[in-house]
């Protein structure tokens, strides 16, 4: 049996820390953090809605960096990072776009409104869905990869708009987390939020790692298959 390399050990350490932090987050969110005065228990959605949004930003940033690096000098790893980033952005974006409306049903009385932050978040997720559709059905040649990289860069242009939309335009979306300290008055609320943020960040990193590794393996296998064809090693029927 193959012994674990340094990369494997680092990955399993990341998973172990993320698991412990996730369990701790659940404990603090559900058993320690107090119920909010006006919204009640539904406010606890916040502790994984906002961290999921940061997970989405992280995936989108990986997609941006991977895409830029790929356009400068194409390698399998750079393309795989961009692809993994887009996938993580879609997974966490879907969590954001479903947990948010569930909170809104209670807080606003309706699931969805065309608020600037909601609209720009939806748009961003749709851009990354388009990226994944392109990668899945648009072929896997260098031209398609370059076009996807351009889309990965374009998708990231929306991120600052999502972030600043609540400050620049009027809308219903709350601004609890601010540079001035935010509106979490109780220390256990702050603890739950910070733990959620860290555990989701580690989860997003682990997901990025796994997905990028799978994409690199797939590219290497593609090349090995092409070599067998080029060397005419395929068994003749």
């Amino acid at each position: 049996m193959r012994s674990l390399g340094r990369t494997d050990k680092a990955f399993f350490a990341l998973i172990a820390v993320a698991t412990v932090l996730f369990a701790l987050t659940l404990h603090v969110v559900f058993l320690r953090a107090p119920v909010e005065r006006t919204m009640g228990i539904v406010q606890k959605i916040f502790y994984f809605h906002v961290p999921a949004a940061y997970g989405m930003y992280l995936g989108a940033t990986a997609c941006l960096l991977g895409s830029m690096a790929y356009l400068l000098h194409p390698t399998d790893l750079r393309d795989a990072t961009a692809r993994a980033g887009a996938e993580v952005a879609v997974v966490f974006g879907a969590i954001v776009l479903t947990t948010g409306p569930l909170w809104a049903a209670k807080a606003w009385g309706h699931y969805w409104t065309w608020d600037p932050r909601l609209t720009t978040s939806l748009l961003s997720v749709l851009v990354y869905v388009a990226y994944l559709v392109l990668r899945s059905f648009g072929g896997d040649g260098p031209g398609e990869k370059r076009f996807s990289a351009a889309l990965g860069i374009l998708g990231a242009a929306n991120l600052p708009i999502i972030h600043f939309s609540v400050q620049k335009w009027s809308g219903q979306h709350p601004t609890v987390v601010t540079a001035k300290g935010g509106g979490l008055s109780h220390p256990d609320m702050k603890l739950a939020f910070i733990l959620g943020l860290v555990s989701f960040t580690l989860l997003a990193l682990a997901m990025l790692w796994v997905r990028a590794r799978l994409a690199v393996l797939s590219s290497r296998l593609d090349r090995a298959e092409e070599d067998t064809f080029a060397l005419d090693l395929r068994p003749h029927e």
Partner: protein, 79 residues
């Protein structure tokens, strides 16, 4: 049954909205919280299942490649 018999006459319909102090809520916060939490895990597990499927495809392709290489190493005089 004639559908017109079951329709209330216009004068029987409500004409005002009356507020009720401490009335029941339309959405239960607990149910919404559980729904949000379930969605979170369903999406993460669906993503893991998708990764598993992609790995299975890679395993199949790797198996084909190994078969090809086995075939070549067993019959070297053909190449």
């Amino acid at each position: 049954m004639n559908p017109s018999n079951s329709v209330s006459p216009p004068q029987d319909r409500a004409t005002t909205f009356q507020p009720v102090e401490g009335g029941t809520e339309s959405h239960s916060g607990t149910v919404l919280l559980v729904e949000a939490y379930v969605v979170l895990w369903v999406l993460l597990l669906a993503w893991i299942a998708m990764l598993w499927r992609k790995q299975s495809v890679l395993f199949e392709r790797l198996g084909e490649l190994e078969k090809t290489l086995d075939h070549v190493t067993k019959t070297p005089e053909d190449h």
